[in-house]
């Protein structure tokens, strides 16, 4: 997973606000876990690496959160802020 270069971000009290540098003006608001997943992608890594980083943030076993992190990564890819591969 790798962040698309042309994404702007601004930290919020409860997460992060993203906006594409070109194209849609629609902001993307990520709260709680979704924001943690975004921060976990600051360095590129495969899905397993991202799951491991998020699990470490929350102090849980990767297997406990794998499904929800996977789903969130899919959503971030669909929003166009992450690239899978």
């Amino acid at each position: 997973m790798i962040r698309r270069g042309a994404v702007l971000e601004r930290r919020l009290l409860d997460g992060v606000l993203l906006m594409h540098a070109r194209g849609s003006f629609e902001p993307i608001r990520l709260n709680g876990t979704a924001a943690s997943i975004w921060y976990a992608t600051a360095e590129p890594g495969d899905r397993a690496a991202i799951v491991a980083r998020v699990a470490a943030m929350y102090g849980v076993a990767p297997s406990e959160i794998e499904a929800s992190v996977d789903a969130a990564l899919d959503e971030l890819c669909a929003d166009g802020v992450l690239l899978d591969g």
Partner: protein
Amino acid sequence: MADALVDEVYAALVGLGADGASEPWPIGPLSDGQWSDLVGRCQTQRMVGALCEVISQRQLDVTDSQLATALNAQLEAAHHALRVQRALLETADALRAAGISFAVLKGPALAHTIYPDPSQRDYLDLDILVADVDASVRALGARGIARLNDEVRAGFDRRFGKAVTLCNADRIEIDVHRTIAPGPFGQLAAAGQLLPAARSFTLAGVELPTLSTEEHLVQGCYHLVLGGDEPRGSNVRDIALLLSEPTLDAERVLALARGWKGEAVVAQAIRSCAERVPMTATPLTDWARSHNLSARERALLDSYRSGDRFGSMALATLRVLPWRERLAYMSALALPSRANLRTRALKRSSHLKRLGRFVKR
């Protein structure tokens, strides 16, 4: 209504992160009325980022509803900041394509170079210093970023103007600067010396040129003292943080101020900041405290505070312009183009009446 506790918390926010600034955070949440005052003041003073920082650090206690109010204010400020950042990338792309040297000034640049976290600095518009105002306005115009007012007269922007204000399709204002201040001190400042830019920061993978810490400080001082309004909280905090930068070279600041005959401006801004933020004394704060205004400096500074600020600044500007420029400056102000009058919703007769009233005084 003024409330001492709100005043104290607000003052502590303005000094947040500055060397020696005290942080007398109250124990327990403010009342809802006090909170509403504080959030409103932070919004108008572009200090929402600082407020949210102390909430996130749990330095300031808040109730659930107060947290929700702060979040809403932060979301609004963050959304606007992201739109300004987009405008910055759009502007930088156009200027680069046209081969024009530029430097990003104020909010977005300071947020990404001086502030501990860019989300702590709110901003509403964009300020860019350029090497060639006319070429910049043309390059941006070709991308649909249009100027708000027509030029006073042909050639005015590049000879005498402070900045040209443009607006993009997202309604973000972009000030394209020839110099860093209006009036006489703006004419005396050789802002072209700031280009090519000394440093850069990165936004969405794009490298953007900006000023050195010392240049940011001098520019911030000019904005604080000559900007026209009561100093905004975010601008005072800019100065406090710049003065607290460990790498700040006081001699470079003073050399730049001296070269631009702007020592009085820098001294007054630093004094004004030190009155609001109880900072640790530095060589620059000591210098500012002991700087005595000359009669000429006092007269130039007074021109910015007059009731008819525009007219007084124009007269003071005449005094600092080279002789050969004075006639062109006067005739441009006395007889602006029809297009300029139209964009300012003025008729030539009403403009001349206004001018006549000023000359009589």
